[in-house]
């Protein structure tokens, strides 16, 4: 699990509850990069409960270089009805700004692609912001295809509880 031969101290490992402060830091830094930091209400306690409790809602791996966390990936299982097969959905991928361009991001994606194949998943998917051209170019170079023509719809907050109340 080495992004290149010159980074022999690089590894990817499963996260544990002890990583919650690191995960929160990466989530916040990614949100700042995405200009969406105002939407972050996550805290360490909520992360611990939802990721490392009895019924985890997602999985997390930490990328380490010289035993220091330099990035992370958070993902969960999704499902394709057309394939009748599970897939992996990558919710967050982040590499520390000072560690960019060294192959850590590609190593995390490669790790997940391998995991998808091992788990007999048909797809690895994630979302990218339309203005993030460096990321778009990077993903295209890896063979990813944009699902143009589809838009995610979201029901949240009062709209969600209001609809639920009519059931």
């Amino acid at each position: 699990m080495q992004p290149s031969s010159e980074h022999s101290d690089f590894k990817i490992r499963q996260a544990t509850e002890l990583d919650c402060a690191t995960i929160l830091r990466f989530i916040t830094q990614l949100a700042e990069y995405e200009k969406l930091a105002h939407e972050v209400v996550a805290d360490e306690k909520k992360l611990a409960a939802t990721l490392f409790g009895d019924n985890p809602s997602a999985e997390v791996v930490i990328a380490e270089y010289d035993t220091k966390p330099v990035g992370f990936a958070l993902y969960f299982t999704n499902y394709s009805t057309f394939l009748a097969q599970p897939g992996i959905y990558l919710e967050d991928l982040f590499v520390d700004i000072t560690m960019r361009g060294k192959g850590f991001g590609k190593a995390l994606l490669t790790h997940l692609a391998k995991l998808a194949v091992e788990r007999n998943c048909g797809r690895l998917e994630w979302s990218v912001l339309d203005w993030n051209q460096p990321a778009i170019d990077f993903y295209r170079a890896l063979g990813a295809e944009p699902m143009d023509g589809w838009t995610v719809n979201r029901l949240t907050g009062a709209a969600l509880t209001n609809l639920a109340a009519t059931a």
Copy 2:
């Protein structure tokens, strides 16, 4: 669980392995409506294995009217890092063409909104085709917001196995 008072024979129930033929029929009809039928490789056996085996990848509910299936919803748990909270992602929602306009689609969405609230999920999300204006209008009327500015990227087939092989 009634779309309106005149449909007292309507109910929503959990699907079982015995519903795989019905589920496949609805998946195929939805794909035809989406002009994507050529992408469907699902079959009953794959559906049974991935939805009703030891480790189900998604959940399914069937909408029945007069004890006959008239629609379905297939969904799984996703995760928001900004909220540190799970959500429900609705992969497929379909109502038989002859049964449209009677409130069955809204009843299925309402059922899922209620489930999301019960499970302490922060969001209910799904994707819509940009040309499907009747669906877009219907979802907006329920309070859903389009996640404009984001595009899903997909790595599948040879591109996925090729990247995995470099790990």
